[in-house]
Assembly symmetry: C2
Homo-oligomer: 236 residues x 2
Amino acid sequence: MNDDMMLNEKAVAGGRSGWKQDPAGVQNNILAVAMTEFAANGLSGARIDEIAAKTHTSKRMIYYYFGDKERLYGRVLEEAYRQVRTGEEALELDHLPPVEALKRLAEFTFDHHSRHPDFIRLVMIENIHHGVYLEQSELIGLLNVGAIQKLEAICQRGRADGLFREDVSPLELHWHISASSFFNVSNRATFSRIFGSTLYTVDGQRSLRDHLVEMVVGLALKPERAKGRARGAARP
Amino acid sequence: MNDDMMLNEKAVAGGRSGWKQDPAGVQNNILAVAMTEFAANGLSGARIDEIAAKTHTSKRMIYYYFGDKERLYGRVLEEAYRQVRTGEEALELDHLPPVEALKRLAEFTFDHHSRHPDFIRLVMIENIHHGVYLEQSELIGLLNVGAIQKLEAICQRGRADGLFREDVSPLELHWHISASSFFNVSNRATFSRIFGSTLYTVDGQRSLRDHLVEMVVGLALKPERAKGRARGAARP
DNA sequence: GACGCAATTAACTAACTGGTACAAAGTGTG
DNA sequence: CACACTTTGTACCAGTTAGTTAATTGCGTC
């Protein structure tokens, strides 16, 4: 599997006269368009003809390169995961003290999800399908192995410093951070239609994010270390 | 609008010989089947013929009672919201002190969402559609007015007692509770396929729920009142 | 400069799917 | 018991959609 397509911009290959051989570019172009369409309409809702029309190439090429609709969707899903995970790798936290690192990670996740609504939508769609296409991809499995490694490292340092609780796993912390960050994007439509959009203003979003960080840090820290936080009785 | 259908079990009306007139029953039967199908396959993924086949009546009747696919979906959505909201009304919290009430509410929401995966899936699907069908229903608007009233009452009492922070709104508390409770069901497929299912065992779920409650209570309480919890400096 | 092969296009098809026409059968009421 | 109305089953249609057939065009290379 050496298909290193990065969705670059040279995916033209559609100039009627004088086209260049650029299979990778064409495939990337198809993937990019398909990602938008699948994210917007779902697997069964997306139309191959519509995808083809928005591509610089033709429907025949979609089948030429990707076989059928489902495999195209699978490739789109992989590409989406790769893009998002790649964007996460930039984050460097090892130089920060554990609590700061955890804060940064939570903030980053919240913002990162917010910046990638199409990815969120694809994951929503994939969950509607019970994750069967995700399971078929071994690439995604590999990508996600590293997803909580940052958090595990932070927790390890935090525990070593005697700051973090032992009974809250990195996985669970990741779950809580993901839940809020994901829900913030996935349920924006229904939530704001029902309860108004105050939480989706700039101030509302900052508040949600700050409080998420606060809660996660509060959960990770030992009661006696949590700046006075104690769960049993107030005993400083 | 006096369509009080409760999805009862007397929706048979299919006995070849000697049928009874039971329009409400037939409609409920259609709605129940359609809810399952839409929740399973989405709006465009669900098949009218498939719904009809699983009904005790025929496709003709679906169109007779509901007009077309989209209106059927809209009615299903309304029915789902009604069922869930009705189930919430049973919860009685006024007799509990604010902190206890908040705990109970969070726990209940977590469990309640967990018990209604089809509702969650319908909301997911509705979010894929940007909530346009939800917007068309004035019934759902009415139903949801009361959704955070319980929480508002709790917060009012909590503030009156000098326990709750002023800068955390009931709406935001509701958002945090909903986020985790919703995500827990909506993303179970992808999350467990990527990270394993430890968090979806009985113990894992209890842990998630307990920590959610802990975080929400911690967020709601004033720093100095939060059993020693302080954000600025540890000053009990 | 021509030949093999990758890349491309457009028209076509077979199946599916939402929706309908129409007639038959049952219900209840006077 | 007959008449008006409701309810249901069968067969059908027209538009859509995933997927294909087969011929064409351009590229690189010897």
